[in-house]
Symmetry: C2
Subunit: 329 residues, 2 copies
Amino acid sequence: MDLTNAVPPVSQQFALGVDLGGTNTKFGLVNTHGDIFHYGSISTNTKDAVEDFIDELYDAIIPGITEVGGIGMIRGIGIGAPNGNIYKGTIEYAPNLKWKGIIPLADLITKKFGIKARLTNDANAAAVGEMTYGAAKGMRDFIMITLGTGVGSGIVANGQLIYGHDGFAGELGHTIIIPGGRLHPGTGILGSLEAYASATGVARTAVEFLDEHPGIESSMRAYNKDEIDAKVVYDCAMAGDQLAIEVYNYTGNILGLALANFVMFSSPEAIVLFGGMAKAGEMILKPTRENMEKHLLPIFQNKVKLLFSELKEADAAILGASALVWDVR
Amino acid sequence: MDLTNAVPPVSQQFALGVDLGGTNTKFGLVNTHGDIFHYGSISTNTKDAVEDFIDELYDAIIPGITEVGGIGMIRGIGIGAPNGNIYKGTIEYAPNLKWKGIIPLADLITKKFGIKARLTNDANAAAVGEMTYGAAKGMRDFIMITLGTGVGSGIVANGQLIYGHDGFAGELGHTIIIPGGRLHPGTGILGSLEAYASATGVARTAVEFLDEHPGIESSMRAYNKDEIDAKVVYDCAMAGDQLAIEVYNYTGNILGLALANFVMFSSPEAIVLFGGMAKAGEMILKPTRENMEKHLLPIFQNKVKLLFSELKEADAAILGASALVWDVR
């Protein structure tokens, strides 16, 4: 019996990409071109036992797998998850998940599905996705910054993701940009990038500006303070509200200062911005770029591309996770 | 004729290691075990033309090369130089050298000696030396910080030096730690690590402390302000002078804050400190370690080793430069 016939060529195989988020887990079957089939989604945090969650994931995706030809067509499973550790395939002490401590998710998923699973944190997965299918295609040195509820990052140097000694490298959102600055309630760190450049940070800046400048008119004053979120600031700024625009200038200045430091660390070809804040386009990009350039050594000036992700936000995390499968080691 | 006999096995070969500094250029022939033979030194900045400098270097080392068996015994030439670019083998706009603009040093040296030359900046060379022969032996992820007249750095991740897109990665001395802080006269940047943690920075801090606390006794007051350098501060601190010890605490606090950011970037197994300041031992290490740990995310705490270089300062740069030769690509 010729068993080699049983394995389809890679070009016909699929990777199962899983984007495990705090609320929902999205997944899809991805071919080598980055086309996604059989999208699906389940709740992340309704099951107390991670095994029950995996059973539900299995039941949800198995019809799709059957439709593309069965489990033999699946090359592997790639997972992006908060606090994901690539070396151990574990989720470790993720503050937003029900499962506490160290969860050996990749092993549990491999056991259930009978195929190899790899796992990394969500921002690293996004960086792999961008390198495989997006704005960083062909680049060997770039930094991915995800600007969402938090600020995440994935760093690629010499064509490889930087995982560091313990698998947790690339926590650029927690680097300290303003020593003694704003308290990050989740970490207790003062003045970290995430305290300013996340969606939460933008909302806090807006509320601070409204309090500090009671004489300045602003359409943001139509909202209660606890209603002001990044979307309100964005909408007001787009409608021309000067104070809301100043919030973006302030945020961009801090982000630009942080990016200057990152550039002097790894001298990337590009920095790719991804996530909700990227929607603000030039409004955030202009102050970011200006303050980054201002703080760079001359040898780095006017060299680094500041790009927005080219992947649809809904797809990027699934694509990135699936790309871990093709990046065979 | 069997030409294979003409090439000795690598284990019997030597690398010529060249440490090109602002004042002197030191060199030696290094075997694969890191033993240095035929040490030598010439002045760097006495020749207006770089070709004349290379001629002098050649004349100085050729007797040593003859003694180990001739040019056929030399595997290659490794050079550590300020503003050295590994990709192009050039020195680019080095502020402390006579030769202005872009100097294709590796090519010129290859032409003169007839053997392959590689070049990188001095801090990267020190990192390679530490990885090959010193405190970072066997490590795949570490950061080398050189604390001398300036602050340099070499970053190793996934077992490779991070050169970045343009060959200039790892300028951690110029990252901004205190936004709006002390002016670095050479770069115009405010609040960079080098403005505080270099020998020059330590002397400036001492003078500032003496001015700000006129009521506090200090043995440093026996010196004119322009006589106070890092050595004076060191000697006074070692003799128990409280204000001089405070200078080290202050410097260590800023260095520790910077190191916390570097750890959250690349999550190294160790940070290796090298250069004049490392002589201060626990006096600088204790505040550095404490403030680093204080600013780290919990997942990074109590993991990163803070080490001093294990290489003799006089040897490290030559060893590091020579190690570029064995690291064949």
